[in-house]
Structures are given as C-alpha cells and as structure tokens.
Amino acid sequence: MDTFLGRFKNLIFLAAILFAQVVGLAVQVRRPSDEGETRLIRVWAISAVTPIETAVVHSQQWVANIFKNYAYLRGVRRENRELRAEIQQMKIQQTRMDEDARMARRVQALLGFKEQYVDSTIAAQVIGTSGSEQSRVLYIDKGANNGIKTDMAVITPAGIVGKIVQVADNWSQVLPINDQFSGVGAALKDSRLQGILKGTTSGATKLQYIMSDEKVTPGEEVITSGGDRIFPKGLPVGKVVSVEPGKDLFLNIRVVPSARLDQVEEVLVVTKITERMPDTKDLGPLRASDILAERLPTVPNKAEVDAAGNAKPGSGTASPTTTPAAAANGTGAAARPGATPNKPSTGTSTPTKPATGVNTANKPAGATAPHPSAAGTTGTVKPKPAGTTRPEATGASDAGTAPSNGVRIVNNDDTAPPKKTTPPAQPPPAEQQPATPATGEPPPQ
C-alpha cells in the first residue's frame, strides 16, 4: 500500500485536487446564487483589488489630463472656428428636428403613448475587466454607496454598454452586451422588427429571433426596444453588419455595437427611468385641424353654412368628445376661444353647444376661459406660463371672429382672468378662411 501511494503520490494528489474542485463546481451549479446574492469570497477578493485599480486609473488619468490639457490649448483657435461652423449647421438641423419632435410628441399624446425618460445618471470609471475572453464583465468604481443597484442600465453617449449584475459598496460589476450570458431587447430602427440581442463566446453580438422571411439590410441601425425593462426604449445599440439565413426559421444577424465595448473607459449608469406622457405644454398651439384629423370621417354640417357660404358663428364640425391631448394637457376646455364668447368668465362647460369648433364637454372644473380678446380669432394664442394675465395674441384679429375650421385652439393658462368680452365678429366665408399667419396682423375682411 505504501509503495502504491508512494509511486502514484503525484497523480493521487492531482486527482484529489481536481475532485475537490469538481465537487465545488457541482455545488455551485446545483445551488445557483439568487438574484442579487454574491459569493462572499468574490466580494472580498474584488474589494481588495478595487482600491488599487481605482488609484491606478485615477492617477493615470490625472497624468494624462495634464498632457491632454496642454495639447488641447494648441490649435484651439482653429478648432473653435470649426466648431462654430458645425454649430451653425447643427442649428439648421435642429430646427427641422425640433419640428419633427413636436409632431411626434403631439401624435404620441394623441395616441396616449407613454415615453420613457432617463431622469438621472451617474458617471463611473471602468477600472477593470475579468481579464479573460470567456467572461467579459467590467468593473466600475461606483457602487451601492453611490446609489447603484443591480439591473441598472449602463450606457455611453454612443450606445448601450450593459447592465449591472453585482454591486458592492464601492464597485459594481457590469455585464456587457457582448457577453455570452447577456440579452437585450432590441429592435431594428427602420423596419421596427424586434428581437433579442445576444452576446457570443467570441465577443460578437447577434440579433436573434428575426424571422427568415423578413428583410433586413446591412447598415440598418439597431435600437433598444424597451422590452427588457432595463434599457429605455430608443437608445442606440449598434448597426447590422451581416445578415445570413440561420438555423430554424430565424435570420443570423450580426450587429456591431455602437459603443466601443473593448475600450470603454467611462460610462453612465442610469439610476432613474420614468415613464410618462410626453410633455405637450411647450408644443405651441394645437390646431383645430389636428383635432379634426383624428375624427374621421369629417362631414361639414351644411345646415350651419348660409347661402353665401359663410359659416355661422359658433358652427363647426367638432364632435363633443375630448381629444386625448386635450385631456392630457388641460386644453380640452381652455382651448375653446369661440365656444362661449358671451360667457367668457364662467369657465364652465357648455356641453349643449358642441358645434363650436372645439370641444367643450369635458372641461375640467375650475378652468378659466381664455382671454376673450382671443375668442373667436382666426389666429393663434401662444400659451403663457401660469400667472400671466393675458395671452399673447398672434392671430389675425384681436377682436376675433367666430371659429370655423381654421380656428386655432388655444393651449392657455387656466388662471388667466378675462379682461373684456368682445362679441365675435362675422367670420369670413369658410372657403376663404386664410391660413393662420403668425404675424399678428388682422386678416383681410
């Protein structure tokens, strides 16, 4: 026996160590840690290393910044000139995009869609990785002491990075989207097809569960779909680089992440996401045509158009229902300049007079009618902040005319008391109703 043990001592020792580790593996696989639970030995080990890594990273950044700051000063004049030119270009683009955004928000409000907003983020520094190709986790220098919790989204301005999987007091572990155990709800930006973005063992990312009969083109952008309840909807994920027929019924779509996951150094941890209706207060006046557009079909009431084709005062085509937008931003009642021109100060609803061009049925209690000078105008009245007493009339006439299809609805301050009551003037013929200018000039009579 002694001879046997002595002869195979090394092999027996090796087998014993391997057996112990296999048993350890089996225990871990059999009893996977619950969500949020972290093995203490891992916390100890990482916590021991994190201060060193943090110190190294921060000191290295400090030294690098000294040289960078000097380098930035050189050529700053030329860069400034280029940036100014770029700003001019971007202002032009922004004007156009603002208009698109307003339209989109208005439509969202009309349809009752809720938007997800990133309310607060925490900037964090990447201080380490797992170091191996089999696991691509990252370590950041912010933890529970900074308000970070598991399953928070980690992003960069370029795109999403991953999510928090472990949190200690002063560090957190991030599972990037190219890790083989990662999964992100994603959608193709143009075709709106939804799938799941998965990492692979080689560090690539693939969009899965897109049916083979769908058309996906390389170069198409991929965004978050919001379906995973971790990443807000619409954040950039990456671009499609190749599309191949895959196994089963699904396409094999390879995606290159927008964020440079292999060299990410600074990230933002999304600590608060709120879901709310889009803010339509700053969208400007809501046109009657917008409201009419959602009430299809719209048939003009011939009985209320006189022989000359002039619309009678108070006539309109609106139905007594309240639009979602109006209900959302309180314009359902306030936005009725020509509804009850002879009773401007009551602020009460007049459900018996639905044919006024705008809804008056669901006016919130206590809401005050808009300034009577704007009543019946064919122009617009810009919304004023609370506390203002008189909305700024920019429409065709301060005296106003009875509303017709060209009337703009006023998103007005509910607290503005009326100053005077002006009876509505005779409206121009309906077919001659001018397009609303924003000049403040009266329309030609």
Binding site: L14, G128, T129
Partner: protein, 180 residues
C-alpha cells in the same frame, strides 16, 4: 544557494542533471497577484489583451522551474481559483482552477524530463500547454457545465502563439526571481 539538482529520469536531453529552483515567498505570492491584477486591468486600455493569459504563463513558469508536480498542482490551483474570483457571476469558481491545476501538474512533470531553460523549448512548451489549457477549460465548460462555448482552432492557435512569444520574454524576466 537554494538551487538543488535532480537527475533526469527518462530524460530526453543531453544534460544529466537539471536545476530545481526555489522562490521566496514574496515572489510566490506577489508575482501571481501582479499577473492577475495586470490581467484584469490592462484590457481596459489595450484592445487585444484578452488573448494574453498572464496567470497561465506564470503557472507554467513556476511549475517548470520548481519541477515538483505537487507544488505545480497547488500553484495552478491557487492561481486559477484566484483568477476565477474576478470572472462574472455566470462563471463558477473552479473553471480556471481545474484548467491551471492540470497545466501546473503537466508542466512540472515535463520540467523534470526535458530542458525548459532555453527559449525554443519554452516557446514550444508554452504553445502546447496553452492548447491543453484551452482544451481543459472547454471540456469543463462544455462537458460539466453545459455552457455553449465554441471551439475555434484558429483562434486557439493565434492565442497560443501570442502567449508563447510573450512567455519567452516573460520567463527571461521572471528568471531574475529565482534564488541561487
């Protein structure tokens, strides 16, 4: 001088005796720790760092220098488990531990049979053991844990060459810590 000599048993070299080196405790503890620290820190700055496996190289170095299978096992187990700690939560403790234990055992056993002092043999040894290391890891992940790893010969070969080249220079540097 703590260098011992032991006769080759079944030697495939022309030398009849080979030196067995010892290391101080600070070196035994600090070199693996430094290797792991660098390994988890450098990929933040260097893009292709993950194909380099410093804990593996240190394991091979200690195992071949000490030429004792039991100490090779323990060295590999210690470094591997330490390395496992920094992997993600989906990476159970013991995967690198098992792989590096096997490498440590084989490297120390081989170190007693062939000359591992010259750069050529070091290159070949490192190359070969890296393939074994990857194979054992793949076997544990795929066979025991049912993880969906994909084996790529080309990637393994490129990584093995890169580690072997680095290993030659790293071993020359680490030779300074041998106690004579």
């Amino acid at each position: 001088m703590s260098t011992r000599v032991m006769p080759f048993r079944g030697s495939v070299t022309s030398r009849e005796q080979v030196s067995v080196y010892e290391f101080g405790w600070p070196a035994i503890l600090l070199i693996p720790l430094a290797a792991i620290l660098i390994q988890i820190f450098i990929p933040v700055k260097v893009r292709f760092m993950p194909i380099i496996d410093l804990p593996f190289l240190v394991t091979v170095f200690f195992a071949t220098a000490r030429r004792n299978p039991i100490s090779g096992c323990l060295t590999g187990c210690f470094i591997g488990l330490l390395y496992d700690l920094f992997a993600g939560p989906s990476h159970p403790l013991g995967m690198y531990g098992i792989a590096l234990t096997v490498v440590g055992y084989l490297a120390s056993s081989l170190g007693g049979k062939i000359d591992v002092e010259n750069p050529g043999s070091r290159f070949l040894i490192t190359f070969g053991f890296f393939v074994i290391h990857e194979g054992v890891y793949y076997g544990v992940a795929h066979g025991l844990l049912r993880q969906s790893l994909q084996w790529s010969w080309s990637h393994t070969a490129v990584s093995a060459v890169a580690n072997a080249i680095l290993g030659v220079f790293l071993f020359m540097f680490l030779d300074r810590f041998k106690q004579r």
